[in-house]
C-alpha cells in the first residue's frame, strides 16, 4: 500500500521523478508513522485529562479546570513537568534493564496503532495478518512490565511485575479466542477486510455484533478480557494503588513514568479500536456507503464514525474504573481460566457451527434475504 502511495506521489510531483522508488516509500512510511504517533500521543494526553474530568463528574466534583481554558492544557503541564523531573535510577537497580523497560512497554502499546483501521483508506499498513500482529505486539507489554518490576530492585515492583506477567499472559487466551469469530466471519485476518465484511444492510445490522447470538456474547467476553489485558480496574492488580503502593512503576519518576502512563492509555485505545473494528462495524457509516463517497469525504466520515465508537468504548472503560473495586490475584486467575476461557471456547464452537449450518450468513442477512 505504501508503494502505491509512493508511486502516485512521484507521478504527481514532476520534480521528484529523479528520486529512486525505495527512498520515496521510506519517506512516505516515516511521514505516516509520524502522523499516527502524534495522533496516538495527543489522544493519550487528552485521555488523561478526560479521565480526570469523568472521575470528577462521577464523584460530584469538578476535574481540572484551572490550567488553561477549562483545564484543557492540564496534560501539557503534566507532560512537560514530568519531562523536567530529575531522572532517578535507584542505586542497586539494574541500570540497563531499568532504562529499557519503559521503551518496551511504550512500543508494545503504540506499535499496535499500525493496523488500526481508522477509515476507508486510512490505515498505516493493511497487514494481511492484522489480528495476529496486534496479539503479538501487545504481549511485548508483558516483557516490559516484568522487566520494570524486576529491575527496579523494589519488593513492591517485583510483586507488581509478577502479577502483571501472570495476568496478561492468562488473559491473552480469551482475548484471542474472542476475536476469532470476527475472523471466521470475514474469512481474513486483515482488519480492513473484517471491517468491509460488516458493510451494507442499513449499517447497524451489518455489524458482527448482531451476526448471531454467539458473536454478541463474544463481544462482551472480548471487552472484559481486554480490560484485564490493559490492567484497568477491576483488574488493575499490577499497579494496585492501595496494595502495592503503585505496583511495577514504584521506582519510576519523571519521563520514564510518563511512558508507562501514556502506554496504559495507548493500550486502552488499541483494545477499543479492535473491539470496534471486529464487532461494531469499524468505520462503516450507518446510512451511507463510505466507500462509494468521494475519497476525501469518505475518509473523513469513516474516520469520524470510527473514532466515535472507539472513544465511546474508552469512556466506558473510564466509567468502569470509577465504579468497581479490585479483584484479588487468585480470583483474577480463577476468573480467566474457569470462566472466560471455557466460555470463549464454547462460543467459538458455536460460531463455527453456525457458519457451517447457515453458510456464513447471519440473522440480519437471513431476514433481509426473506424480504428479497
Amino acid at each position: 500500500m505504501m508503494e502505491s502511495l509512493a508511486v502516485s506521489l512521484v507521478n504527481a510531483v514532476p520534480a521528484l521523478s529523479g528520486v529512486p522508488l525505495w527512498t520515496m516509500t521510506l519517506l512516505v512510511m516515516v511521514v505516516v508513522a509520524a502522523v499516527v504517533l502524534t495522533f496516538a500521543l495527543l489522544y493519550a494526553g487528552l485521555a488523561t485529562y478526560v479521565e480526570r474530568k469523568v472521575a470528577g463528574d462521577i464523584q460530584a466534583r469538578i476535574g481540572p479546570n484551572r490550567v488553561g481554558p477549562l483545564g484543557l492544557l492540564q496534560f501539557l503541564a503534566d507532560g512537560i513537568k514530568l519531562l523536567l523531573k530529575e531522572d532517578i535510577i535507584p542505586a542497586k537497580a539494574d541500570r540497563f534493564l531499568f532504562a529499557l523497560a519503559p521503551y518496551l512497554v511504550f512500543i508494545g502499546s503504540f506499535a499496535a496503532f499500525v493496523v488500526v483501521p481508522f477509515g476507508v483508506g486510512l490505515i498505516a499498513s493493511d497487514l494481511n495478518i492484522g489480528v495476529y500482529y496486534v496479539m503479538a505486539i501487545s504481549s511485548l507489554v508483558v516483557v516490559g512490565v516484568m522487566l520494570a518490576g524486576w529491575s527496579s530492585n523494589n519488593k513492591w515492583a517485583l510483586l507488581g511485575g509478577m502479577r502483571a506477567a501472570a495476568q496478561i499472559v492468562s488473559y491473552e487466551v480469551p482475548v484471542g479466542m474472542a476475536l476469532l469469530p470476527a475472523v471466521l466471519i470475514a474469512g481474513s485476518l486483515s482488519l480492513q477486510d473484517i471491517v468491509r465484511s460488516q458493510g451494507g444492510l442499513l449499517g447497524i445490522f451489518g455489524w458482527n455484533l448482531f451476526h448471531n447470538p454467539f458473536t454478541f456474547v463474544s463481544f462482551f467476553l472480548y471487552y472484559t478480557a481486554a480490560l484485564a489485558e490493559t490492567n484497568r480496574t477491576p483488574f488493575d492488580i499490577p499497579e494496585a494503588e492501595s496494595e502495592l503502593v503503585s505496583g511495577y512503576h514504584v521506582e519510576y519518576s519523571g519521563i520514564r513514568f510518563a511512558f508507562f502512563f501514556l502506554a496504559e492509555y495507548g493500550d486502552m485505545f488499541v483494545v477499543s479500536a479492535l473491539a470496534t473494528a471486529c464487532f461494531l462495524g469499524g468505520w462503516h457509516v450507518p446510512f451511507l456507503d463510505a466507500e462509494a463517497l468521494p475519497v476525501a469525504w469518505g475518509n473523513l466520515f469513516s474516520l469520524g464514525v470510527f473514532l466515535a465508537k472507539a472513544l465511546g468504548l474508552v469512556l466506558l472503560m473510564m466509567w468502569i474504573r470509577w465504579t468497581l473495586p479490585r479483584l484479588r490475584v487468585d480470583q483474577l486467575m480463577r476468573m480467566s481460566w474457569k470462566y472466560l476461557v471455557p466460555i470463549t471456547f464454547f462460543n467459538l464452537l458455536g460460531v463455527s457451527l453456525w457458519l457451517l449450518v447457515f453458510h456464513g450468513k447471519g440473522i440480519p442477512r437471513m431476514i433481509a434475504s426473506l424480504f428479497g
Binding site: 480526570r52 472521575a55 470528577g56 464523584q59 460530584a60 466534583r61 469538578i62 476535574g63 481540572p64 479546570n65 484551572r66 490550567v67 481554558p69 477549562l70 483545564g71 492544557l73 492540564q74 501539557l76 503541564a77 503534566d78 512537560i80 513537568k81 523536567l84 523531573k85 530529575e86 531522572d87 532517578i88 494503588e241 492501595s242 503502593v245 503503585s246 512503576h249 514504584v250 521506582e251 519510576y252 519518576s253 519523571g254 513514568f257
Partner: protein, 190 residues
Amino acid sequence: MGAHRPGNAPPEGRQMSHDPAHSGPAPAVGPVSLGPEAHVMVGNADKFINWCRKSSLWYLLFATACCGIELMQTGASRYDLDRFGAVFRATPRQSDLMIVAGTITHKMAERLIRLYEQMPEPKYVISMGSCANTGGPFYKDSYCVVKGVDLLIPVDVYVPGCPPRPEALIDGILKLQKIIEQKRNFAAKA
C-alpha cells in the same frame, strides 16, 4: 451553610485569582541578570516551565495525624484539589510536593527524611498544621515529638491551623504556586 454555587468553571482566562491582601509576595530570589535581551528569552522559558511545574503539583500521600483527614477532605468533592492539577501519588518517586500533614515523632523522623530524599529534584514541602510547624499541642510536655518539621527537612510554606481548614491548605498551595512562579531556573545557573 456554605455558599454552594455549583459553577463548572471560573471565569476563563484569569490565570490567578485575586491575592489575599496581607499574604504579600515571597522574597524574590533574584540573581544577577544577564542583560536585557538574554533575559527576555530566558524569562519566557522560565515562565513557561514554572507554569508547567506550578499547575501539576502531584502531592505525596503522607498523612500521619488529624491534618491527614483534612488533607483527604481537601482532595475530596467539596474542595477538590484536582482543580489545581494536584493528584495524590502513593510513591515519593512520582510526587513533587510533600505535604507534611500531622505530627512527626522521633521514631518517624528518619522515615520522613528518607521519603524526602527519595523525591526527584524540583520538590517542595508544605508544613501543614501546628504539629508540623512547631510541634503544636505536643510542644510543651511530649518527649517524643519533633518540635517542627524544619528541623528535619527544608520547608517552603507553613500553613497554621490545628487542623487548618481545607481552604487554608489551598491558600498555602496557592502561595507555593506563587513561589514556584518566581523561581529562576536558567538565569540562576549562568
